[in-house]
Amino acid sequence: MLILECPYCGVKAEETELSPGYEAHLKRFGPGSSDDEFNDYMFARKNPKGVHFERWRHAYGCGKWFLAARCTATLEVFGTYPAQSSEPPADLVAKIKAKRPDWSGYK
């Protein structure tokens, strides 16, 4: 059972209380961008086997979107942080790097 702590209300919520939102930190491309950029933004996904940053919504709680760092190969949760983050917080990245020395890092 996947349990994530909502960074807003502090509730440790299990997955039936949450809605998944897939990959986080997508850079948006709209009118004026190239076809390749728009295609990558719309469809291409990292889908890593390992460390993954993703969006979740505390749907049956406070209702807010937040972000989580999770391992897709072991289901280990590294941490959660507010949605108003353009990239993962440095302390979380350091924590993941300590646990997963082979990880290529956030990019």
């Binding site: 295609n39 469809f43 291409a44 889908n47 897709t72």
Partner: protein
């Protein structure tokens, strides 16, 4: 290869059954091949088989990191149907169904294809409209399906409760030619036929890199060393993104877990396949008597081959209302597979940005039924270097062009 037949059984019975030979060889890799397929699941083995049978390309290796048929081919609920909404889907799935019909004879291996009939229940008014539309589309595509009444559903499935109240049966989309097959036997049959043609099936050999030169594939790095090839086919389902990354391109795919489970064996009680897409449940009875039940996918990226418990609970809760008699059944085994989902829920059979490298993936939750058709189309693509009519619409650039083959609406989730 000695042919299997009633005479072979009689002959072997005379000699204590000591004369049966191994179904396929276990060779060491050669230095180079005309074609390498990564992934010895159903789709990969079928691709190799039709490369040899239809195109005469037999210097082929099929490389598998685990054991053959050990991925989603061994983890599905074995349902076979071709009642799809979109024309390209109907074409390839119906090709597969037609190949399944005489696959046992073709491979000289009993795949236990059982065209027992398949029902997709309509339990909401939206589904009624959707399935009526599918019936009309199927009529135009030449795929025989029909819309049947609740009374006819009850006649075909006596154990069903059509009254609801939560999930009443309002009718069903019925494909009499649909059914099931023995999933392992499909992989084993193809493997035996490939081995008989002189192809090398190399198990316990993981691909760790793809070597290319001037934008054209040259070979693969594996745990058993470097193997050169003129053509490369990537047919690895859940790990497509990882292998594509080695080949230097990205895919519009996310991997999620899909679960299935079986009950204890009981006496024959249901001789059709029933799918209930509103509640994400589908059920059939295996030859052993187990009720084989499939559920919904998890909504998050996952490579663990185990899914969330609450999906099992949701699926069974809904199925117990539809089939009250299963409420006392004990569930024996539960498992998960990693399915590769595309945005439009249709597969990718395509050339790639890397020359002479081809990919077959994105079958998501519904790949087993397509194995022969998928292999047929992929072999054609690999042999000629250009997609034939079955594969053309499933190219990986359709997303960029906005030419989706949208089965996510048509198929609901159980797909």
């Amino acid at each position: 290869m000695k042919r299997y037949s009633v005479f072979a059984i009689a002959r072997e019975a005379m000699s204590y059954h000591l004369g049966w030979e191994r179904a396929w060889a276990a060779p060491q890799p050669k230095k180079e091949y005309d074609a390498i397929i990564i992934g010895a699941g159903g789709h990969g083995l079928a691709t190799a088989y039709y490369l040899g049978k239809n195109h005469g390309i037999r210097n082929v290796a099929i490389i598998e990191k685990g054991w053959l048929g050990g991925g989603n081919t061994g983890r599905n609920t074995t349902i076979i149907r071709s009642n799809y909404l979109q024309d390209p889907s109907a074409a390839i799935y119906d090709k597969a169904l037609k190949l399944y019909e005489d696959l046992s004879q073709d491979l000289n291996y009993n795949v236990m294809f059982s065209p027992r009939g398949l029902l997709m229940l309509a339990q909401t008014h939206h589904e009624v409209r959707g399935y009526l539309r599918t019936v009309h589309a199927n009529t135009l595509q030449g795929v025989a399906t029909e819309w049947i009444s609740p009374a006819r559903v009850k006649e075909l499935v006596p154990i069903i409760n059509i009254d609801g109240p939560r999930y009443p049966i309002l009718g069903a989309l019925y494909q009499a030619r649909g059914g099931t097959a023995r999933h392992d036997a499909v992989a084993w049959g193809y493997a035996r036929a490939c081995s008989a043609m002189g192809m090398d099936i190399i198990q316990q050999c993981e691909v760790t890199g793809v070597r290319s030169e001037n934008g054209v594939v040259k070979g693969v790095e594996t745990t058993k060393g470097y193997i050169g090839t003129k053509k490369l086919g990537i047919v690895v389902a859940g790990h497509s993104g990882q292998v594509a990354d080695m080949a230097g391109f990205r895919l519009p795919i996310e991997a999620v877990a899909l679960q299935a489970l079986v009950s204890e064996p009981i006496k024959p009680c249901m001789d059709v396949v029933v799918m209930a897409n509103t509640v994400h449940g589908y059920m059939s009875q295996s030859d052993k008597g187990e009720m084989v039940i499939g559920g919904g996918t998890d909504g998050f990226n996952n490579f663990t081959q185990r899914g969330s418990f609450h999906h099992i609970e949701e699926t069974l809760r809904a199925l117990v209302e539809t089939f009250p008699m299963i409420s006392r059944l004990k569930m024996l085994r539960q498992w998960g597979g990693i399915v590769d989902m595309t945005g439009d829920r249709s597969p990718i059979i395509s050339k790639t940005p890397l020359g002479n490298c081809f990919i077959n993936c994105g079958w998501g939750t519904g790949g087993f039924k397509a194995i022969p058709g998928s292999g047929w189309a992929m072999a054609d693509l690999m042999a000629r270097g250009e997609p034939g009519p079955l594969a053309a619409d499933f190219n990986m650039w359709r997303f960029r062009e906005g030419q989706f083959i949208d089965e996510s609406v048509a198929a609901g989730v159980a797909h």
